[in-house]
């Protein structure tokens, strides 16, 4: 039996999504830009997908731009906004717990002469709104904060940040990396004062190679990719029609059963949390329960190396992820685990479990059972 608890890495494609994509590739394979009927049929899928997504965000379809995925969305949002608004200032604010696709784009901009303020997170992996407010300068043009952290599932106060920016500095653009949170939270960019929002398709039972960037009307942004002028010239390249159709359907499905999905995830997570707490030498990282994301649980195991534990679980068909542990002096290279104050040993013994709506109680119980068997064996052979 396969137990897949690595849904923050990627998810299994929903069967209906798969079928729709098969149909698009096999029957409605036209280029959305073609003038003939095949083209207009393909364009319909693109349009429907934008409508499906827009309705989950309570925005207009015209604000949705498809990309190749989360990394491109983050790159484009930050680089495109920074470059288009350069004359207004060259200061950016972000946090030290962002995904590498944000961190490394920020580093690139640092090399280009921009200044970046890297906000710290507290021991629960949460950034403070007042720290952020204090970091703002007259030449600040963009604030970029992730919604749900990918390593420990901590949730950033994006609503409060949006509110604070609206009140005090409405001209500053606000980008949110929602790659781990879209489908798990109700996100309404207009109400929350979010100008740019990044989402990836394969984290929500959609296909890989597709994502989108929400861009508010007021945002001045430069394209990242130039070419034939597709998507109003903002993002050239032949439209990935099957991917877009798949993403639209996957998003629509998630939000159609939103409340029951979230309840289910929290209840599974609570079961896993309680089970882990009964095992000796475990430490749950960050907040628990409803104060953290419904699908991510990070746990440090004493006297075990996460890679070894991961492979031992893999032998039993259980797939999880190891917490990253790479440390250096630059804030962009410090992992979330280090920045929330975990020791080196704790970081090296950290496993991330991430659930999906397809996970079951039985899978959780089997995983806990496997851990209880494996851990004593592995701990007998710890490094002396």
């Amino acid at each position: 039996m396969e137990i897949y608890l690595d849904n923050s890495a990627t998810t299994r494609v929903d069967p209906e999504v798969l079928e729709l994509m098969r149909k698009v590739m096999d029957e409605d394979y036209g280029n959305a830009a073609s003038l003939h009927r095949k083209g207009s049929e393909a364009e319909k899928y693109t349009k429907t997908a934008k409508e499906q997504i827009a309705s989950t965000l309570k925005c207009e379809p015209k604000n949705i731009f498809f990309t190749s995925g989360g990394t491109e969305s983050n790159n484009w949002a930050i680089r495109g906004a920074a470059e288009a608004n350069r004359r207004m200032g060259m200061h950016l604010v972000t946090t030290s717990i962002e995904h590498p696709s944000v961190k490394n784009t920020m580093r690139y901009l640092e090399e280009q002469g921009y200044e970046v303020t890297w906000l710290p997170a507290d021991s629960n992996g949460i950034v403070s709104v007042s720290d952020l407010r204090n970091a703002l300068r007259p030449d600040t043009i963009l604030v970029s904060v992730m919604h749900v952290n990918n390593e420990i599932g901590s949730v950033q106060p994006i609503e409060e940040i949006g509110e604070m920016l609206r009140r005090e500095r409405p001209e500053i653009l606000f980008h949110v990396d929602a790659i781990q949170s879209y489908g798990k939270y109700r996100i309404y960019p207009k109400r929350m004062n979010i100008d740019l929002l990044s989402v990836s398709g394969h984290k929500l039972h959609g296909p890989k190679g597709i994502g989108f960037l929400y861009i508010a009307d007021r945002v001045k942004i430069k394209p990242l990719i130039y070419g034939g002028g597709q998507q109003k010239g903002y993002r050239s390249g032949t439209e990935n029609v099957p991917g877009e159709a798949g993403l639209g359907l996957a998003a629509g499905k998630l939000y159609a059963h939103f409340d029951e999905n979230i309840e289910k995830l929290y209840s599974l997570k609570a079961r896993l949390t309680e089970g882990l707490q009964t095992i000796e030498g475990t430490k749950i990282n960050g907040k628990t329960g409803r104060d953290s994301a419904p699908q991510i649980l990070s746990c440090s195991f004493r006297d075990v190396r996460s890679e070894v534990l991961l492979h031992a679980l893999e032998d039993r068909g259980i797939y999880v992820s190891s917490g990253s542990a790479c440390a250096s002096s630059h804030p962009s290279e410090i992992s979330t685990l280090l920045s929330i104050g975990l020791t080196k040993e704790e970081q090296e013994g950290t496993i991330r479990f991430s659930l999906s709506v397809n996970s079951t109680e039985e899978e959780i119980d089997r995983t806990l059972h496997a851990l209880k068997e494996i851990l004593p064996v592995l701990r007998r052979f710890t490094r002396r």
């Binding site: 190396r305 890679e307 070894v308 492979h311 032998d315 052979f381 490094r383």
Partner: protein
């Protein structure tokens, strides 16, 4: 310029006396085997102490040369222009066309060296040298003759059915043709050294099989895949490699629990050698090969090597024993294993490495420590040998 054939030069085979035919046949067989992978029709012929690869149909010269550079036993590869004998005047024109196409920079010295195996040709070799040299100078006045150290040595050979024109030589890998020297069992890890050791021993005409020790869950599937990838890379030279994957976890854990920690690596290596020897004998290998180099790490000091060496009866060949690390790296870059070797999948095994391992172990002390294992080790060794999973890498 399109060549019609490649003249293959080999060095050591030529001095093997009565065995020469045997070595040449092995080389011809290997060349044929390698060229099966290249698009085109090739005939490999052995004539008068030479090997020619004759090409016909559509083929890419670069592909042929690259493939030939993977055939052990080849010292030089000479692309040859073959012309029919239509009289000396025509030959002279062909030679000038050849020089025109192969020497874009005419500011060079040259020498013409002609040979005749057909003694009834209209000119003798000396006359040909002089006439062709004269004709080339007439055609390209910038060129000059230097019979001692020419930039270009132009060879013209009048054979029974055709005339060969060639000048450039491309270096082959050297060594001896595969299949001329038996079979070895290589201890292959994911590191830089062992693939190079396998390449070097194979270069002496030796077929190789390999053994890899896998320790799940302490080492991952990716670490194993890396070893398979390395075996595939060197198999371009060595021919197909049967990789034996042995599950070593339980032996490692037993050593870890029962033996002094600073002797861990030595004892581990001794059991690896024992298992490798067993697998080698079962597969008709005549020796073991390792990538060890004196003093590189604690387990490769003279004293450590003595301890690991003393567990097996088969000879253990260590082609890198006196090499510096940077020399080994250089070869690994040349044969294309370096980038794979440095992929970082090995470190999950680090709990089995002592912080301060012994560097001068005494054999008697090691043997005494191994006494602690005597109740469990025969069974564990048997289980490890039975875990043998064979992966064909080619």
């Amino acid at each position: 310029m399109k060549y019609h054939a490649f003249l293959i030069k080999y060095s050591e085979i030529a001095i093997k006396g009565n065995n020469r035919k045997y070595f040449e046949d092995a080389l011809v067989k290997q060349i044929r085997f390698h060229l099966r992978k290249v698009e085109g029709d090739f005939t490999v012929k052995k004539t008068q102490g030479r090997i020619y690869v004759e090409c016909s149909g559509a083929y890419d010269q670069e592909d042929v040369i690259e493939e030939l550079q993977h055939v052990f036993g080849i010292l030089w590869i000479c692309p040859v222009l073959r012309v029919e004998d239509k009289g000396f005047k025509d030959l002279s024109e062909q030679v000038i066309r050849y020089v025109d196409a192969t020497c874009p920079d005419r500011n060079l010295s040259f020498k013409v060296e002609c040979r005749r195996s057909r003694k009834d040709y209209e000119l003798n070799s000396q006359e040909m040298n002089a006439e062709l040299g004269h004709d080339i100078l007439q055609a390209f006045p910038e060129m000059r003759v230097d019979v001692h150290h020419p930039d270009m040595l132009l060879r013209v050979e009048v054979r029974e059915d055709f005339i060969n024109i060639y000048s450039g030589e491309i270096r082959g890998p050297g060594g001896m043709p595969l299949g001329s020297s038996g079979k070895a069992m290589l201890l292959l890890s994911g590191g830089i050294d062992s693939p190079v050791a396998g390449y070097m021993i194979s270069r002496r005409g030796v077929f190789i099989d390999a053994v890899y020790f896998h320790a799940p869950p302490y080492t991952s599937d990716r670490a194993k895949q890396k070893v398979v990838d390395l075996a595939k890379i060197i198999s371009r030279y060595t021919g197909p490699i049967r990789l034996h994957v042995i599950n070593f976890t339980d032996i490692q854990l037993a050593i870890y629990e029962k033996c002094p920690h600073d002797e861990l690596t030595i004892i581990m290596r001794r059991y690896m050698m024992k298992i490798a020897e067993h697998i080698a004998r079962e597969n008709e290998c005549e020796c073991l090969v390792t990538g060890e180099s004196i003093g590189q790490v604690a387990s490769q000091t003279m004293q450590s090597l003595l301890c690991t060496n003393s567990v097996c009866m088969l000879p253990v060949y260590r082609p890198l024993i006196a090499f510096d690390k940077n020399d080994i790296v250089e070869i690994s870059e040349k044969i294309g294993t370096f980038e794979t070797s440095i992929l970082p999948y090995e470190d999950c095994c680090t709990i089995f490495v002592a912080k301060h391992p012994v560097t001068k172990p005494r054999l008697s002390a090691i043997e005494k420590s191994e006494e602690n294992l005597k109740d469990v080790i025969p069974e564990l060794l048997q289980e490890a040998i039975e875990s043998d999973e064979v992966i064909l890498c080619q």
